[in-house]
Amino acid sequence: MDKEIQNNVIEVSTISKAFGGLRALENCSLNIQAGSITGLIGPNGSGKTTLFNAITGYERIDSGDIRFQGKSIAQSKPEQIFKLGIGRTFQLTRIFPKLTVLENMHVAVQRQGKGNMFSSWSAAHERRKALELLDFVGITKHKDLLAGNLSYGQRKLLEFAFILIADPKIILLDEPAGGVNPTMILYLADRIRELHQQGLTFLIVEHNMEFVMNLCQQVAVMHQGNIIAQGTGAEVRSNPAVLDAYLGGGLE
């Protein structure tokens, strides 16, 4: 039992969040195992993004607790949570369009190593790392372009890369494959697998079932602000509650 708690990077325990009368999260619990790729699926409006916002400090939860590596982060601010090692992307990609691609890479506060806020951002070691990561996602040739000129898919890659620069322990991706062409989706899945092999943990909200089933060892299903099922892809698919939630099986 103890060992299992140790193994969870993130523990969400019975959290609730209401917007006025709308209960976006209700007694929602979810554990994320270290080193896993967990998929989070569920119908639109079931509270997936709100759960992300709660974990990353954008929404204060009304009750319950969220722990990261055993410590509560329920009261922490977004910037503190990022510094602990939780990076996220947004459902609608959010980059800095009027900064160059390379500048975008340097915005994130370094979690480790040299440099403080008054040091130059183009210091050699930082620059090397930024270029490596741009290479990793394959947009190095656009490094001096204003990020606003990137295509939709390239923006997603940039957002992914500029989170990685701070060496996060877990990355939360909100619909990474949404609106992206099939080649790019495969490419992204490859990047995720590679990082996963290096020890990174992922929590991924995604509607693209093929993407989720191929990539995630664990799948959690959300419905009306609650996790109604969790298990392997196959287990979840055959769970009657899940089929109900999707109105009689839209899971194929």
Binding site: F82, G87, E103, S151, A166
Partner: protein
């Protein structure tokens, strides 16, 4: 573009350094003093408002505090007119910076339009306080500062070069900030403050520090002008027109760029001083000035400096005809969406 800007700035500074040696006429150097001191103001304003995008129309709060600080220091400590008050100009700047801490702590809880309104309100509160705390500020009678010990044709020179030193400092600080992680954080705040937070940036602290640095320069500007004019009154120290002028100069030259606000200030302040000398009796100066501004802002909405750089790179591109990937319809659509849905995304 950044390198070109730095070079242009260097040329401007060298030109300003030798300017009074060529044009030593006192009425010219007086205009030059105001042009340079407004360049300091615009550069200082830009460090906070230009970089973070929090447009402040309450910058005079800090220049006013600087002006009164210098006046009170000279009064209380019986400082004679001479070069000593120049040293206290820096102290006045520091006082303004410290003053920015509690003010910023309060006003930085707001954003965008609300922030603009709050800065204006703060300015009028300060003006009211200056009128009413008579024991301290002398009320509407104001405070007189010591007269400089030098006179005649030489009179403007120490002020001019004092202002120029401040400008060199302001330019250097702006440059350093623009090349630091701190400055990048400020620009990130301008683009998407919440996104910046989720990348570990303590936006509250960043904004406060930027505001304090910016207030320091405002304080020195206020103190310099009050020493130059030998007086400080509530309406002049906390003058909303000062704010509008400084903001316009920055917008005119190019907000958030290194050289823009300085070029904007040098051009506009010179023009305004010249026009008020020529046409002030009939009030034509303001009309001409306003009309000119409108034309330029309509034609070059981003300001002079960015527009020029765009023109240059466009000309280069058409020469080399390298394909520049432009934002597709798809990406602009997603941008619009992102704006619409805001934080929910």
């Amino acid at each position: 573009m950044k390198k070109a800007e730095s070079i242009i700035l260097l040329i401007i500074l060298v030109f300003l350094a030798i300017f009074p040696l060529i044009f030593s006429n006192p009425s010219t150097t007086s205009v030059a003093f105001f042009a340079v001191i407004f360049a300091v103001a615009a550069a200082g304003w830009n460090i906070f408002s230009g970089y973070t995008g929090y447009v402040s129309l309450g910058y005079a709060v800090f220049s006013g505090v600087g002006a009164y600080s210098l006046a009170l220091i000279c009064q209380k400590w019986n400082i004679a007119g001479g070069y000593t008050p120049f040293a206290f100009v820096l102290v006045a700047g520091l006082i303004a910076a410290v003053f920015a801490l509690p003010v910023g702590w309060i006003i930085l809880r707001t954003r965008r339009h609300v922030f603009v309104v709050v800065t204006v309100a703060t300015l009028f509160i300060m003006q009211l306080l200056a009128y009413n705390l008579e024991g301290f500020t002398g009320g509407s009678a104001g405070i007189t500062l010591p007269l400089p010990s030098w006179t005649g044709d030489f009179f403007n020179m120490p002020f001019y070069y004092g202002a120029l030193i401040l400008l060199v400092v302001a330019v250097s600080v702006s440059w350093l900030i623009r090349h630091s992680k701190f400055g990048l954080g400020l620009l990130a705040i301008r683009e998407d403050e919440d996104r910046a937070r989720s990348l570990g940036i303590n936006t509250t602290m960043y904004k406060l520090i930027a505001l304090m640095i910016s207030a320091f320069f405002a304080g020195t500007v206020g103190a310099m002008i009050s020493y130059f004019t030998s007086t400080v009154f509530p309406a002049e120290a906390f003058d909303p027109l000062f704010d509008i002028a400084v903001a316009l100069m920055a917008f005119f030259g190019g907000v958030g760029t290194l050289a823009g606000p300085i070029i904007g200030a040098l051009l506009l302040e010179t023009l305004q001083q010249y026009m008020s000398l020529q046409f002030s009796t009939v009030g034509l100066d303001l009309i001409l000035f306003g009309g000119l501004l409108l034309v330029v802002i309509l034609l070059l909405p981003e300001g002079i400096v960015p527009s020029l750089f765009k023109l240059v790179s466009k000309m280069r591109a058409s020469h080399e005809s390298t394909p520049i990937p432009s934002s597709s319809a798809e990406s602009t659509d997603s941008e619009r969406l992102a704006v619409k849905e805001g934080k929910n995304g």
